[in-house]
Symmetry: C2
Subunit: 215 residues, 2 copies
DNA sequence: AGCTAAAATGAATAGTGATTCACGATTCAT
DNA sequence: ATGAATCGTGAATCACTATTCATTTTAGCT
């Protein structure tokens, strides 16, 4: 069986290489070079081979998006399910997301905002929806605890995610060096602002960065 | 000269018909049926004729976008330049925008959020930028007047526009009947929430709809 | 080695849609 | 009326890519 196992391993490894190549390509230049031929070349296989592993281009990218987004959603979910006041967790969740998005900016932009063909777009929406779900869940908690003002959690979640996504990777968002002080300040400010929408009282927690002076 | 004038009028009228056809097509089904051939048919001319009046498809749509957005930007700008406290004007500006966007939802979505080819997208960004500019301008005033917390106006403008755009016409935004009570409440809540990000104190103006009960 | 099935190949196919252009129709100044 | 200029036409062309498939290569088996 070890021979058969080796064979299967090689197959799955090729599959992985294709997925990885697709992810890299998008992370590098966005959907512009997301053509099947390009991915195949990058993975070191012929174009036809891609279709041995994936039914269609859309299928391939649906899987890539799923893979990439799962991690991000998990990070946010972990914060949402953590301890402490909802207000604090909301800021932290956004902040965590923001920090991560500011590395792989190109990928984050492609995932969140860049125009692409409708078929792939459908897969992208699942990611956005999942993200908004986490936020909505947290908002519900915050309302129940009396920390947040009483609004429709879904609507509020849209506003909050819209706010930080636009500021982070929106087409107008400024390019910042991932590790610069400016980027860190921006991440904190974005998190603080987006969360403030829901705060019952302006005064934030003890050592929260909200509302600091202009950088 | 009246004959020459008539000729020119006919020419510009054809041009207008093409522009109008393009706008209608996008308003109806989004970028899906924004093909040159389709527009031409809708305007009652041959495809080639379109190219007598516009250098390229991108040019045509750049003009369409400019025409449509100018109106919206003017509406917002008027509110921004109005009287009263900045906080109130911010809510009003967003509210005005929201009401208008909720009619022509399909067009608003196409303008603000729908994926489309990169060339047209470039033109779309101008609209977003112009909108963010108005908001940023207002935020600057609000900060100067001490009404808003002190943050980078550009960053805050991104957050605010992102918040209401996502909630209004984002791909996850709920479909509502344009004139229903639900839509009106949503518009008010969105405006209230988005603006709250910047408020120094939670308590809104005298008869502001902010923070009302869940609809 | 010879055989077979799975796997890989990449040239050919096909669909889409923007753009061009050679030609006929119209208009208008003379 | 005439012909040069302008306008309108729509079939043909071009560019781009996803997808297919006949063929070749590889790997395991006897």
């Amino acid at each position: 069986m070890t021979v058969a196992a080796a064979r299967i391993e090689k197959l799955t490894e090729t599959r992985q290489r294709i997925l990885e190549a697709a992810r890299e390509a998008v992370a590098l230049n966005g959907w512009r070079n997301a053509q099947v031929a390009h991915i195949a070349a990058r993975a070191g296989v012929a174009t036809g081979t891609v279709y041995r592993y994936f039914n269609s281009k859309a299928d391939l990218y649906a899987e890539v998006l799923g893979l990439v987004s799962r991690r991000e959603i998990e990070v946010v979910a972990a914060v949402v399910d953590g301890d402490g006041p909802a207000a604090r967790r909301l800021v932290d969740a956004i902040h965590a997301f923001a920090r991560r998005a500011m590395r792989g900016r190109r990928l984050a932009y492609a995932l969140l905002a860049e125009p692409c063909e409708p078929e792939i777009d459908a897969a992208r929406l699942k990611y956005r929806a999942a993200l908004a779900d986490q936020v909505a869940r947290l908002i519900e908690q915050g309302i129940a605890d009396g920390e947040f003002i009483e609004v429709d959690p879904r609507l509020a979640a849209s506003c909050v995610t819209g706010a930080f996504m636009e500021a982070l990777v929106g087409p107008l968002a400024p390019e910042t060096e991932p590790h610069s002080r400016a980027a860190q300040t921006a991440a904190r400010n974005i998190a603080g602002l987006a969360a403030r929408m829901l705060f019952r009282q302006t005064a934030p927690g003890p050592d929260s960065p909200i509302g600091g002076p202009i950088p």
